[in-house]
Amino acid sequence: MTIGVISFQGDFQRHIDRLASVGATVEPVRTLPALGRVDAVVIPGGESTTIGMLLDRFGMLTALRDRIRDGLPVFATCAGTILLADDIANSTQPRIGGLDITVRRNAYGRQVDSFEADLAVSPEWSDLGLRDCDSSEATDVDLPVRGVFIRAPMIVRTGESVRVLMSFEGHPVLVQAGAILAATFHPEMTTDLRIHRYFRDVVAAGQTVRSAL
């Protein structure tokens, strides 16, 4: 099982480091053949217009869209979440789509308005297999997740297929739809590995299903 990290632009190295820390095999992805080799994909934070443009330029936008439709597990943060959104308010920028949400870019303001905040872990989130993690880490489970929001987008609408896992100030900040996991903040900017571990488990669960078929 290899998790690919789209590594053109943004904080891809942070994702690579975090995924390695949770024991995943990680490969940076910058070409179509590399994309074809991976079993899951991470779309990092960065500039969504730049990443979308480069994916498009190198023929990877359509390929990603098709593979995600076919069930490729994806974890997106910030810019990645913008690229997965079916609807981006006031924008026609190149996108992957596939996640039934509407996002508003830079909705919290400019960089001087970027912030950190504690995000409560709801009982529902604790139930998502987190308690089954290695017992040594189980004490983490109810601690809040430190949300790092950098020129963050806001999810202003979620479709019926989308489950809200975490919210802040009334807006979803971590959502899941099938094998798609998307955050508006940056779990990769902290050393808290819970969300990356959760994604690793989503990918592993999909693998089990696939090999059972």
Binding site: G45, E47, T49, F115, H186
Partner: protein
């Protein structure tokens, strides 16, 4: 929206400042002087633009005192693009920095390209909400700036020349010095801190981690896709391109080519295609023919 939740926000932390620098890795930041150029840069795939009144090559040609840009010009560029907008203040000119922060500039470059306002001290960057980037020629200078609060470091190179030799020298110097620190016994680190003129705690940290605590970008003399790929292969995490784009024959095309080159920095076949048929590069000045007075990299203390 409840008061209690709002109060949990902690704005402009060190992590959000370095975080934006992290988000800017692996791309190209382009100098622009008009909203139209900013749009060309964004459409080419720039991940941020640097708003300034004159590109370094023109600052060189015109001489005189180079200052912070007109706020109207910066606002025009902020309105024209959705990507982050950076702007420059003079070394030590903390009021220009305050003005740039009030304008909502995403990153402030305390830059040697402008005429220094203080010949001894830099801006105390920790006291600002906006993150700062500063230039360096060696590790000591990089660490002094980080000690003052810079959330991103870039090599100075020799801006406005189109000659990449100084950027290469500065990047190699920084990485060599970092590598050397890793090989030293701990009792030597205090004397190294003294010799480099760098904060001791940062020296100790780098001896352990083997890298700077903030992203390390490259600037000053990048004019071609190959130059950009060279800097990335040497270890820069992104590149600034100043005069190299809008002083060339076909800016839109060259801008896009430099973006593509950074994305494929380790693929020579792709770089060969990317580098073909770009029209004229900026004319350039050979740095080795310049006298000390003409060089700006020496500004900074």
């Amino acid at each position: 929206m409840s008061e209690a939740l709002w109060s949990q926000r902690q704005p402009a932390t060190w992590r959000t400042k370095v975080g934006l620098a992290e988000m800017l890795k692996g791309g190209v930041i382009m100098d622009v002087v008009t909203p139209e150029q900013a749009k060309i840069a964004a459409e080419a795939g720039a991940q941020a633009v640097m708003a300034l009144e004159r590109v370094p090559a023109d600052i060189r040609a015109h001489g005189g005192v180079a200052r912070m840009s007109d706020p109207d010009m910066i606002k025009g560029i902020q309105d024209a693009v959705t990507i982050p907008v950076m702007a420059k203040c003079r070394i030590g000119h903390f009021v220009e920095a305050q003005i740039l922060e009030a304008l909502g500039v995403d990153f402030i470059d305390e830059s040697e390209v402008l005429t220094p306002a203080d010949d001894r001290f830099h801006v105390l960057k920790h006291s600002f909400k906006a993150p700062f980037v500063c230039g360096c020629r060696d590790l000591g200078e990089a660490l002094r700036r980080i000690g003052e609060g810079a959330a991103m470091i870039r090599t100075k190179g020799e801006a406005g020349t189109g000659d990449v030799v100084e950027a290469v020298r500065h990047l190699r110097t920084v990485t060599d010095e970092i590598r050397r620190l890793g090989s030293l016994p701990p009792e030597e680190l205090m004397t190294v801190a003294k010799e480099l003129g760098a904060p001791y705690d940062l020296i100790v940290e780098i001896a352990e981690t083997g890298k700077l605590p903030v992203p390390n970008f490259s600037a000053g003399g990048v004019a071609t896709p190959a130059d950009a790929a060279l800097m990335i292969q040497l270890g820069a995490e992104a590149v600034f391109v100043g005069s190299g784009i809008f002083k060339s024959g076909d800016p839109a095309r060259r801008a896009r080519a430099i973006v593509d080159a950074v994305a494929h920095y380790d693929d020579p076949k792709a770089l060969a295609e990317i580098s073909a048929g770009l029209g004229e590069a900026m004319v350039g000045i050979n740095v080795s023919t310049m006298d000390g007075q003409q060089r700006i990299a020496g500004r900074g203390w």
